[in-house]
Every structure is written in C-alpha cells, then in structure tokens.
C-alpha cells in the first residue's frame, strides 16, 4: 500500500514537473517574442521619418521619370525625316525626275496580343502605317525599274514593320516622258 502510494505520488509529481516545464518553455518563448516585437517597433519608430522621406523621394523619382519617358514616347516616327529625304535624293538616279515627294502616316491600328486559347490577352502597341509617295517623270521604264530595285534595298524597314513598294506608270506623253508614281508602304506586321 505504501509502495503504491509512493508510485502514484511520484507519477503525479513527474506530471506536474512536465507540465511546469512546458509552461515555462512557452512563457520563455512569449517573453522572447515580446522583446523582439518591442525591439522591432522601436526600430520602425526610429526609422519612420527617414522611411517617409525615402518614399517621398521615390514617388518624386517615379513622377519625374514618367515625364521623361513621355517625351521619349512622343517621337513615334521611326524615321528621321530630313535624313530620309536627303538619302532619298542621293539615291535618285540622275535620269529620273522627282516632282513630288510626300510622306503620311495613317492612324495607328490597335493590335491585340493573343493569350492562351486565342483570347485577346492585352492590347498591343498602337503602330501607325507610314506611306511615302514619289511622283515624277522618267524617260525609260528600265530606269524606273532600277530605281524601284534600289528602293527595295533602301533602309526603310524598321523592326515590326513590313515593306511594300508599288509603282504605276502613265502612257508616254508627247515629250516622250513617262509620268510615274511609286508608293512605299511600311505597315506594322501582324
């Protein structure tokens, strides 16, 4: 009987020791977390004003950068127009006359990027179509044909654009000249 009581008491004490150990362990962890949180809160409080200043600088930086990007985006035209005309004039064979050179751009068409399953995922960049027309006179059609071949090698093409060149010729007039028209079209590739 005495031995049984001893064993029961011993087991109960062991249980209490175990429970106390678990409780102490938990309290220790809670205490550590509380200290850590206090420390973090102090650090946050100490750097709050500096952080606000950093965020303000960052917002201002983004706003200023957006303005500069906007100016860069303003120049949509992939050509430097004066260079284009000057190079075109240098390319012109001597025995072909330009009467008119014009350059236009059609309103940009929205292109849609395709997502999975063919669904339109997002709107692509809006690219205009560029059209250049040269009108003039030529005595020999071979010269016009040679000039068209030269234009096909001309560095019009820019990334994302397809080049097409077509010509039309009227009947030889009384002066023995063929009035012609050459159209160069740079259209965004789909």
């Amino acid at each position: 009987m005495v031995r049984t009581n001893f064993l029961v008491n011993f087991a109960a004490v062991a249980l209490l020791v175990g429970a106390t150990f678990l409780l102490a362990q938990r309290e220790l962890r809670i205490s550590q977390y509380e200290k850590s949180i206090d420390n973090l809160n102090s650090r946050i409080a100490a750097s709050a004003s500096e952080n606000r200043e950093n965020l303000r600088l960052n917002r201002e930086f983004i706003a200023a950068a957006r303005r500069i990007e906007e100016v860069q985006a303003f120049y949509q035209n992939p050509f430097v127009v004066h260079q284009l005309i000057a190079e075109l004039a240098l390319t012109r064979p001597q025995n072909i006359i330009f009467r008119e050179v014009s350059f236009t751009q059609a309103a940009p068409a929205a292109t849609a990027r395709r997502g999975r399953g063919g669904a339109a995922a997002a709107r692509g960049p809006r690219l205009p179509t560029y059209r250049m027309e040269i009108r003039g006179d030529v005595r020999e059609l071979e010269i016009l044909n040679d000039f068209k071949n030269v234009l096909e090698e001309f560095p019009f093409a820019t990334e994302g654009y397809g080049l097409s060149i077509s010509e039309s010729v009227q009947q030889r007039n009384q002066a023995g000249i063929f009035p012609y028209s050459i159209e160069v079209v740079l259209a965004p590739e789909s």
Binding site: N5, L16, I30, N51, N58, A65, F103, G136
Partner: protein, 192 residues
C-alpha cells in the same frame, strides 16, 4: 452504498494527498499552457509582419542611398524639358517661333496654322499641338528646315510632309522653287 464507495475513495486519497495536489496543479498548468498558445501564435504573426516591414524599410534605405542625387539630376532634366514646351494659349508666340526659323534655313515660311490641342491621355503630363506649315525654298534649304525642326529648342515630330515643285519644277532641283507642306506635332504644357 454510494456513501460507502465515497468513503472508500476518500480513505485511499488520504495517503495520496501530494498526488492529488500535483495532479490538480498539472491540469491547471496544461490548461494555462494551451491558453497561452493562442497568444504565442499572435506574437509570431506580429513579429513576422514587423520583420517584413523592417526589411522593406532597409531595402528602401539602401535604394534611396543615391536617390536624392539622381532625383536632382532628373528634376533638372524635367525643368529643361518643361522650359521647351509650347503653351497652347500663346498662339502668337508659337506662330512667330516658326517664322523666326526662316533665316536659319534661308526659306520663306508661307503659312503657319495652329490646329487642335491634343489633350494628354490617361495620367500623361503633356499635351501636343498640331501645326500645318507651308514653306518655300530650294530642296537643300527645305531639308535644312526639316532638320531645324528636328533640332530646334522644342519637341517637334514631323507627322506628314509633301515637297513639290511650285511651278512644275522637279522636287530635287536646287534651282527650282519648291513648296513644302507639313503637319507637325509640338509637345505642349497641359492646360489646367
């Protein structure tokens, strides 16, 4: 019967009072430990959030090390840009701007027509003004004029142009008097 059973149990417990006390205390300790578990979970969550906030602040501080200098440079660029913008309301000044370019390229500006003001889209900052210009001169001078439009102290994009002989002359003969018609867009301040 019940009274006898209770008496028997109490009799047995008399010899095991420490065990009873310890068992009661152990149960209390377990319950308290369990209850404090919720508190610990909350503290862990708070600590994680605060650590993340501190990391973000540290990252901001690192990123901002050179930000002030960079921002100053950027602001100077923006000021320089904004000094070059047209004002839609200053129609006479704007028109005169193009007439003043006559001498630079030795051409005659025959017409300057201010068109519509294109308001900025979305959150953009700058508007644009469309102009139609007609100029006369030799081929070389007109190309020089187009070059000047590109390099002058304003943001100008040539949208369309047409060069043709004014009196049936060829469009690339320097001797001939040619007419240039072009539409341009000039970057302008947003109207408030």
């Amino acid at each position: 019967m019940n009274t006898a059973a209770i008496s028997t149990v109490l009799e047995k417990l008399k010899g095991r009072i420490p065990a009873v006390v310890c068992a009661i205390l152990a149960v209390v300790a377990f319950v308290y430990t369990y209850a404090r578990g919720a508190m610990e979970a909350t503290l862990v969550e708070s600590e994680t959030a605060l650590t993340s906030e501190i990391n973000q602040i540290d990252a901001n501080t690192r990123a901002a090390a050179e930000l002030a200098n960079q921002l100053e440079t950027l602001n100077q660029s923006v000021e320089s840009i904004e000094a070059r913008l047209f004002q839609a309301s200053a129609r006479a000044i704007n028109t005169n701007f193009f007439y003043q370019m006559e001498e630079l390229a030795d051409i005659r500006v025959a017409q300057v027509r201010q068109g519509s003001v294109i308001a900025p889209e979305g959150n953009r900052e700058y508007a644009a003004i469309e102009y139609t210009l007609v100029a006369e001169g030799t081929f070389t001078d007109l190309v020089q004029f187009l070059y000047n439009l590109r390099t002058v102290n304003a943001f100008i994009e040539i949208r369309t142009f047409d060069i043709r002989g004014a009196s049936g002359g060829g469009a690339t003969r320097d001797a001939a008097n040619l007419t240039l018609s072009c539409t341009i867009r000039v970057l302008a301040q947003k109207e408030t």
